[in-house]
């Protein structure tokens, strides 16, 4: 049930901002500070989410196979690999490290 609440809220919210962009007169969101904040918010959120999903185990911090996987993804990104290859590298390395460590 909780998941449905989250899905409904996200669907409504995401649709609302899409529509708002089409309806709101320019100018309101054109202010430089608002623009820069809007550009930076996803950066902060993505960085925090990436770190948490890699190093969090419930409420504790953990260093496990996922870190190796993310490292592989980072290397793939530095080598300008396509999106799917980046994700595949992370998945394969994580699975590999996990298989080796038992």
């Amino acid at each position: 049930m909780n998941f449905w609440i989250a899905i409904a809220l996200t669907a409504v919210g995401c649709y609302a901002v899409k529509l708002a962009g089409l309806l709101v007169p320019a100018g309101v969101l054109e202010r430089p500070l608002v623009k820069r904040l809007a550009a930076l918010l996803p950066v902060a959120l993505l960085a925090a989410l990436t770190a948490q999903q890699t190093f969090a185990d419930g409420h504790a911090l953990a260093l496990d196979a996922r870190a190796a996987g993310l490292g592989a993804a980072a290397v793939a990104l530095l080598l300008r690999a396509p999106f799917l290859l980046v994700v595949a590298a992370a998945v394969l390395v994580t699975a590999g490290v996990r298989a080796m460590s038992g």
Binding site: A6, L9, L22, R36, L40, A44, L46, A95
Partner: protein, 226 residues
């Protein structure tokens, strides 16, 4: 597939793709729910990631000049890809065609692959053994990497990582990510105290970005690599 790994049902996964249809928000929502976040903070995080679509909409509404009646329908397709295609077109007519074709194609493909992915993940069973739990953060990293162009973005990301991980043991699930979002206004504020983009790059650097980068480097290879 990530969604199924995060504990959502097939219906929930499909509803997400049909109704939300903005990849980063979907992954964020599923990731936050899978990490045990409460639905409201998870939705808030996903919502913030969707906010950029409003800025796409701003540019598209001028470019496409859509009739009012069509806008509520077109809105669902306002995403990264349709914006990129539309902005690349030379005329309004081709921009409209580009928007429609890209929107329709992606909408159909995205939802088809969602069904296949969800069914596939079900068939695989324990997604962790296959390393699929690393797919989520890898997707985020791939979305994040192109954004880290200047010191401002890097400082924000480093500060957000510190806040997100540092507060994890202390606050309820989902809240640390929202607090980490404050890294964005914080860095902008610190920048504002400097004299301009040039000066602030350095002003932020030594105190706010160098320290976190140094502190996180040994434990977090991904941050280091960037």
């Amino acid at each position: 597939m990530t969604a199924a790994g995060g504990g959502l049902t097939l219906w929930q996964t499909c509803a997400l793709s049909l109704l939300v249809f903005t990849g980063a928000s979907q992954f964020a929502l599923v990731g936050a729910l899978a990490a045990g976040g409460n639905p409201y903070t998870a939705a808030a995080g996903a919502f913030f990631l969707g906010v950029r679509n409003a800025f796409y909409g701003l540019r598209l509404s001028q470019l496409l000049a859509l009739p009012r009646a069509v806008r509520p329908l077109a809105a669902q397709w306002v995403i990264d890809e349709t914006t990129a295609v539309s902005l690349a077109q030379p005329t309004r007519r081709s921009a409209r065609i580009g928007f429609t074709v890209t929107g329709l194609t992606l909408y159909v493909l995205w939802n088809l692959t969602t069904v296949l992915g969800a069914l596939g993940a079900r068939a695989i069973g324990d997604t962790d053994a296959w390393g699929l739990d690393a797919a989520g953060p890898a997707v985020f990293l791939a979305l994040l990497a192109p954004m880290l162009k200047t010191t401002t973005e890097r400082a924000t990301a480093a500060l957000a990582v510190l806040l997100g991980l540092g507060l994890l043991p202390l606050l309820p699930s989902g809240v640390p990510v929202l607090v980490a979002a404050l890294a964005a206004p914080a860095v902008l504020w610190l920048q504002g105290r400097g004299k301009g983009p040039e000066a602030t790059g350095r002003g932020v650097g030594p105190e706010k970005s160098a320290a976190p980068a140094g502190a996180t480097a040994p434990a977090h290879p991904s941050e280091d690599d960037r």
